[in-house]
Amino acid sequence: MKLSLNWLKQYVDLDDLEVKQIANELTMKTAEVEEIHHLAPRMDGIVVAKVEKITSLGDSGNLASVHLGSDEERLTVCAAPNLRPGMFSIFAPSGTILTDGSKVEETVRHGHTSQGILLSPFELGISQYHDGIMDLPADLLPGTPLSRLLPGEDYIIELDNKSITHRPDLWGHYGFARELAAIFERPLKNLVLWDLNTSQHLPLYPLQIDNMELCPGYACIALDNLTPSPSPLSVQWRLYAAGMRSINLLVDLTNYVMLETGQPMHAFDGDYITSVRVAPLARDGAEFTTLDGMKRKMLASDLMIWNQQEPVGVAGVMGGLHSEVTSDTGRILLEAANFQPMTIRRTAVRLNLRTDASIRFEKDLPKSFTTLSIARFLRLCAEAGQTPVLRSRLTCAGAVTDPETVISIPSDYISRYVGENVSGPLIKKILTSLGFTCQEENEMFRVSVPPHRSRRDISIKQDIVEEVARFYGYDNIIPRLPDAAITSYTFNEEHRAEHKLRRFLSQAQGLCEVHGYSWYDDRWLTELDCNLSGPFLTLQNPTSPDKSKLRQSLIPGLLQCIRQNYDKRQEIKLYELGHCYWPENDDGSRERTFLAAVLFQAGDAEITEELFRTAKAIFEDCLRILNVPDFNYQIMDTTLNSWALAASALTVHRAEINIGSAGYLTGPILKAFKKNANIAWLEMDLTALTGTAFPEINYKPQSDFPISWLDISIMFPKAASFKMLETRLDNFRHELVMSREFISFYEGKNLDGDMRSYTFRYVIGSFQRTLTTKDIEEFRTLLLKYLHKNKLELRA
């Protein structure tokens, strides 16, 4: 939304204020000012010119002689499509410096000397529009310096549209003038209106609304005796300043009124249209040509304006081409309507046609703006030198006034809500300056809301608090910490658990925390030879069709990170803490927080086993940190997916509940990675793991006597698994054994290829006495005898 400072000054005296101050006050009290532009076209030497004779130069435009008053004439080569003999425009003779700093040079084109140029709004420096030359009314004197016709400068205050989305009254200059009058405590001048009561004796215009929900109100009036003309320069200046363009007087005035009041208007060609009906299109697929010349595919639900059986406008969005007001229209039907915001928005979004009108209708405009705008249009029409003749009464259907809203507020409510003592007289003063009326009785304020503030904007007492507080000044509110009683604090154990894991993994284990997207990437899954069956939660509008499934594991994302980063590295350790998602019933979902880690190391395939042991250690330590002591492993006996094949992964259980799994990559999935990649992974369901925040430890005393130990290395077939060896050793029991620790294993040189040598340490001791050499010797003998009996061979 662009505001012209000159325009605002028409309604409120701001002459003594700096534009920066005005913008700052608007930002602090009303809506965010995004930018201020200075509009100051260079006008030295530029004059009004009348185009006399035109000679065509074929494809390269026309040679025009322009009259500059007295006997002065100049020749100019001009390619503007709107050039026509007799028109008034503005002329910059050669030698003139234009707003952008360029100099108009005398040039020879097609054998003709061009002694200057006729200017477009862009060249004049007041607009981006560059598709034609300025077109002025014929009541000007050729040769008049432009500087006598235009204000030398203006400031354009550009507002953030989001900050006024709830304020339909702020979609016009007059609404902002009202705010500024309240901010600077100055009087607000009235909008000068045409007295519509003069039309009472005329017939009604044939008007019908079929659907009052979609079109709650509609006002129109038929006008005659209009003289086609371009708009006065002052009107054009303001339209261009506000970012619009000038078409012709009648169209310009509808836009001008919209920029003043916020109410979009439309003028139909009065010769074309004979009655008005507002109704949905009621059939799909019909084509409609809007006045920009585009053919639009319409839907049955689109609200249209009809002339008899023919649609002549897309309600609230854009008029139709056939009923358009052109440069020779002398009769119009002028309308100002009120539409349901949602229906306008839906159509505009679908047609990709967010017009100045539709943007305003989406805000739920006050109904009283309809007749107000018609009265304002007529007044401006007269000011522009027109003598319109009314052909109909002001004709209204539906509601064109707003119901009165009264809000009651306890007298001390505002002060309590703000946290600052705001006095009754100040409250009244602020509300009155904004157009509210306010009466205090029995410790209550009775505030009635003016019609220009819509139902959506002001409906409850907190809305009134806002009005008072923003004018009281948010800066004047002294920050105060709330009074609070001491209460016990409940920690969120879920968050605490996550942070504990972060500390462990990032600080102690050297892993790098990663964030991945919440959806699978199907193309990557295909590369992983992974065909997941679901069911999944699925996005209706994914960023791309192969990213529609919400993830149920963090592993694929982490694997993708590995591949993306492994060219520069020998070793990568990553983890992610994130949500995974499942559908539940038809319209529900279930979410769980997972922890997953992936370890990568480049090297021979043999190192995978050691890498997996690391993953398993991380898994177990995580469980210890979470104070989840009891769990057991099972070798996965069915293939879950390409990274968790049967026998390549363990599942971890706690009291029959699966709490996670860990494994290594093998088989087809490895094709997605380079040859020397070794990858192990682990994933656990934190939602299933509810441990205490702090450990419950029961200290076990140590023996006061010295302990001793004995290391033995046992040969065992590799294929038979460590677990089996361990089970056999478990059956050896002796009172002196305090613990048995696995130290390491060895394979390779000097060993049978299928065998491994496992080294264990038996820690022996007693709580009652110091062991003697004899005790130790006896233990050793018994152990060796047991091993021999169980065919467990010692390493030589």
Binding site: M28, E32, S163, I164, P341, R416, Y417, V418, G419, E420, Q462, D463, V465, A469, R470, Y474, D475, I477, P479, R480, L481, P482, A484, Y489, T490, N492, E494, H499, L505, S506, Q507, A508, G510, C512, E513, V514, H515, Y517, S518, L537, T538, L539, Q540, N541, P542, L550, G557, C561, Q564, N565, R569, I572, L574, H579, D586, D587, G588, S589, E591, T593
Partner: protein, 336 residues
């Protein structure tokens, strides 16, 4: 005894290494040392009480004197250092990994609020239209509900567009009074570029009690930001519109770079727009089964992703979910 003293001094004068002094100590004060032996070789029983006492005194004086002399010599003696340890070698590989920058700011924010007694809540990502929009007074025709802003699931649910989805859930679960924050991941259907992501993080906060006021909101926000940026922060409120608060505000903080004088970062305004906040709309309180005539409250939403960008000077939002280790490794897991 005097001879012993002289001898000890002579010996010590010759010794210039710690080992040499240690040898002397053993020779004089060791178990078989000259001084130690003095005492052993004397027949105490042959002495009368006074002589014995005098002998004892002298012996102890000598011993103490000798110990001091040796200690002084040791303090001055050179200690030979084995030259085969190169102290200039780099340290062994660090066992520190890294923590995601979002986690870093999230943990910091959580601790600041825990210090003020705020509960920390968790949040779900897949949400019903009701909790994400309707419960928050966002009307049916609000543009945010349209496909170009929101990820919709085929089952009619949405990926939450803000952490505000938890407001009504928290109010329903815990009732009033309540002070809580709830950080987490949010989603917007948006084209990804240097400053837009479809997946980002926010932290939402609410406080509901008797007589919670705008003045309270400003004070808490000032505490928060001063803690986050480790300096006193000047904040200002200006009007902002969000359907679930009334009134709604944009909270700006004075530009940390130019201290409010105007610079490139703050686009010469002296202020940085930081977070939307406001007084919880009575309809939202009512949806949370809280009586708006009895309780008032404030709510705010802080973009954690944006905060991380500000705090760590990260110019490109896409880095957060990029999985680029070179980026992630910079975030030392220094978590308190």
């Amino acid at each position: 005894m005097e001879t012993i003293k002289d001898n000890l001094l002579k010996e010590l004068a010759k010794a210039d290494t710690w080992e040499a002094v240690e040898k002397i100590r053993v020779a004089f004060l060791g178990r078989q040392g000259i001084i130690t032996n003095l005492n052993k070789n004397v027949d105490m029983r042959a002495m009368n009480t006074d002589t014995r006492k005098a002998w004892g005194r002298n012996f102890n004086t000598l011993k103490t004197w000798a110990e001091d002399a040796v200690a002084a010599a040791k303090a001055n003696a050179k200690i030979t250092v084995k030259a085969n340890v190169d102290l200039t070698l780099p340290p062994a590989p660090s066992s520190l990994g890294s923590v995601h920058p979002i986690s870093l700011v999230q943990i910091e924010i959580e601790q600041i609020f825990q210090g003020m007694g705020f509960t920390v809540g968790s949040g779900i990502h897949v949400e019903s239209e009701y909790y994400n929009f309707s419960a928050l007074n966002i009307p049916d025709d609000h543009p945010a509900r349209e496909m170009q802003d929101t990820f919709w699931l085929t089952n009619g649910q949405v990926l939450r567009t803000h952490t505000s989805n938890m407001q009504v859930r928290m109010l329903q679960n815990y009732g009033a009074p309540l002070k809580a924050i709830f950080p987490g991941r949010c989603f917007r259907y948006e084209a990804v570029d240097a400053s837009h992501e479809n997946t980002f993080y926010q932290v939402e906060g609410i406080m509901v009690d008797h007589n919670i006021s705008i003045a309270n909101l400003i004070a808490i926000m000032r505490e928060l930001l001063s803690s986050v940026f480790h300096q006193n922060i000047t904040v200002r409120l200006r009007p902002g519109y969000f359907p679930f608060v009334e009134p709604g505000f944009e909270l700006d903080c004075q530009c940390l770079i130019c201290k409010g004088h105007g610079c490139k970062t703050c686009k010469n305004s002296g202020w940085i727009e930081l977070l939307p906040c406001g007084m919880i709309h009575p309809k939202v309180l009512a949806e949370g089964k809280i009586n708006p005539d009895e309780y008032t409250g404030f709510a705010f939403g802080l973009g954690l992703t944006r905060l991380a960008m500000m705090k760590y000077n990260i110019p490109e939002i896409r880095l957060f979910n990029s999985g680029e280790i070179d980026f992630l490794k910079q975030f030392v897991p220094a978590i308190a």
